[in-house]
Amino acid sequence: MEKQYKCHKISGGKVSGELLFSKDGMCFYLIEPKNGKIIEKEHCLYGQSIAGKILVFPYGKGSSVVQADGMYQLKMTGMNPAGMIVVNADTTLAASAIILDAPMVNKMEENFYKDLHDGDMVELDAENGILRKL
């Protein structure tokens, strides 16, 4: 049977893609909208693209404006992450995802972090708070 993990909806939607784990917080404004690559030098994913990924990260960072604007620009170019899994969602991050209809969940089951790795294909059903390994 396929593996399933429970999580909690912040912003709905059902998407699939490869997992990409970040141990650092995310500031969506410091991602190049043209190619989805992280341009923040001190970031652990510096130079990597988040486009189309299911991005897993601990928290958002950056001012109250730039998360929404960063996500908006990525959405306009289609370089946005397919979905987002976050540990600590502050209001700025959650509100930005909700306003831009970007699927986002938190409170992911602990086992998820043990079992799954970069590159694993998953389906994220944010609406119902379920993640399936494909």
């Binding site: 912003s11 960072k61 950056g62 001012s63 109250s64 604007d69 908006y72 620009q73 209001t91 306003i99």
Partner: protein
């Protein structure tokens, strides 16, 4: 989530599509955080930015007929008139400034264009429930005044301005405001600049938690502005306590609400020094100096005026501040002094705006890591240095 009759009416579209959308978004946020109900807000501050998402959303609400029930003060964009005297402004950029202005006026916002509303115009009292966006403002109102705001985005704060309510969760509840990590500050903290570095560095040690700083002695209002702005830029800290100083942390018992700190960390001079080395460009020749992220106070303007009095700056120097402070600087003669040296004071302006295009590709000096942080998007380099050192560098043209 429980909604009052009035809130239901907003959600059902009785007050138009704009108000309906604002309420829909607040309900979604409330559900994401398992909030049981909405609560009224008495103040709001919206981080207007002219950026695409900002304009898109403000126009969507305005076109939907929304009117703010709790009129917000707003963040800076850039002052067209003052910048047209300094540089050429692209017609695209002029258009976006005017469109954003029109949308916010239509919504009923108070057009303060200032990122330090907590010092003037929109000052909350202890315990007041408010909805404040802007990364330097949220920590200041929460921590220094003890008002209660979540870490609102520009858009969620605007939704609260329109509806007059916010979901009841997070920092609005006393039990969620307890300190979590005890931070022993062993660094010297000699000047306001040290607080910039402390704010930028601390999140790397504490992560997503509420810090209680021990060992800080009588920080100035500028030090507190710096600390909050950087905590919320380098990381995601919209509430902090200073033991024996901020209102919710008079004692250890208060600060941690009777619990034990989850962790204790120590921050030293060496930590702040290596942080500065990591984020600051190397020394050398500079092309300009830029201040006011967040907007400078009259005391900071005065400090620069005194340093450049009777001298000539080797590179252009710009200070961003509120219209009120700029007017005061004019009255007090600081503006004349700074202009005579070759500097300029601009109001209503943020550094993260296209009016600074004439500085792209150049290297500047500033006292604010936040100022340098977002310019990675705009091809500007910055040396980050204490205020006095950086002004002296601007007089010489190198650091």
């Amino acid at each position: 989530m429980y909604l009052t009759k009035e809130e239901e009416k907003m959600l059902d579209g009785v007050y138009g599509k704009g108000t309906q959308l604002a309420m829909k978004i607040l309900v979604a946020i409330g559900e994401a955080y398992d909030a049981p109900k909405m609560v009224p807000v008495t103040r709001t501050h919206v981080a207007l930015s002219n950026q695409e998402a900002d304009l898109w959303f403000a126009e969507k609400l305005a076109d939907g007929g929304a009117k703010c029930r709790v009129r917000p003060t707003v963040n800076p964009s850039f002052n067209l008139e003052q910048f047209q005297a300094i540089t050429n402004i692209d017609s695209e950029d002029e258009k976006i400034v005017k469109r954003t202005h029109a949308a916010y006026v239509k919504l009923g916002a108070i057009m303060t264009y200032d990122c330090t509303p907590y010092l003037e115009r929109n000052v909350p009292r202890f315990g007041e429930i408010i909805s404040f966006s802007e990364s330097s403002a949220t920590p200041f109102v929460n921590s220094v005044y003890g008002a209660r705001s979540n870490r609102e985005s520009a858009q969620s704060a605007l939704c609260s301005a329109v509806t007059g309510v916010t979901p009841y969760y997070g920092f609005l509840l006393k039990e969620n405001r307890a300190g979590q990590v005890l931070v022993h500050v062993e660094a010297d903290m000699e000047d306001d600049f040290a607080y910039q570095m402390l704010g930028y560095f601390a999140p790397k040690k504490i992560g997503f938690a509420i810090p209680v700083f021990a060992g800080l002695k009588n920080p100035s209002k500028e030090a507190l502005m710096n600390l909050g702005a950087q905590l919320n830029t380098g990381g995601n800290v919209a509430l902090y306590h200073i033991l024996g100083f901020t209102p919710e942390a008079q004692t250890m018992e208060d600060a941690f609400q009777g619990k034990k700190p989850q962790r204790e960390v120590t921050i030293t001079n060496a930590d702040l020094k290596s942080m500065r080395e990591e984020i600051s460009d190397k020394s050398g020749k500079i092309d300009f100096a830029l201040y006011g992220c967040p907007h400078f106070t009259i005391d900071q303007v005065c400090a620069i005026a005194e340093l450049v009095d009777g001298k000539k700056l080797a590179v252009p120097l710009f200070i961003m501040t509120s219209a009120l402070t700029r007017n005061l600087a004019k009255k007090m003669g600081y503006m004349d002094t700074i202009r005579a040296a070759g500097g300029e004071i601009v109001e209503d302006t943020c550094m993260d705006q296209p009016c600074w295009k004439f500085l792209y590709g150049k290297k500047g000096i500033t006292d604010s890591p936040k100022c340098a942080y977002y310019t990675k998007r705009r091809d500007m380099q910055f040396v980050i240095a204490p205020l006095k050192d950086s002004v002296l560098a601007a007089l010489k043209g190198e650091y």
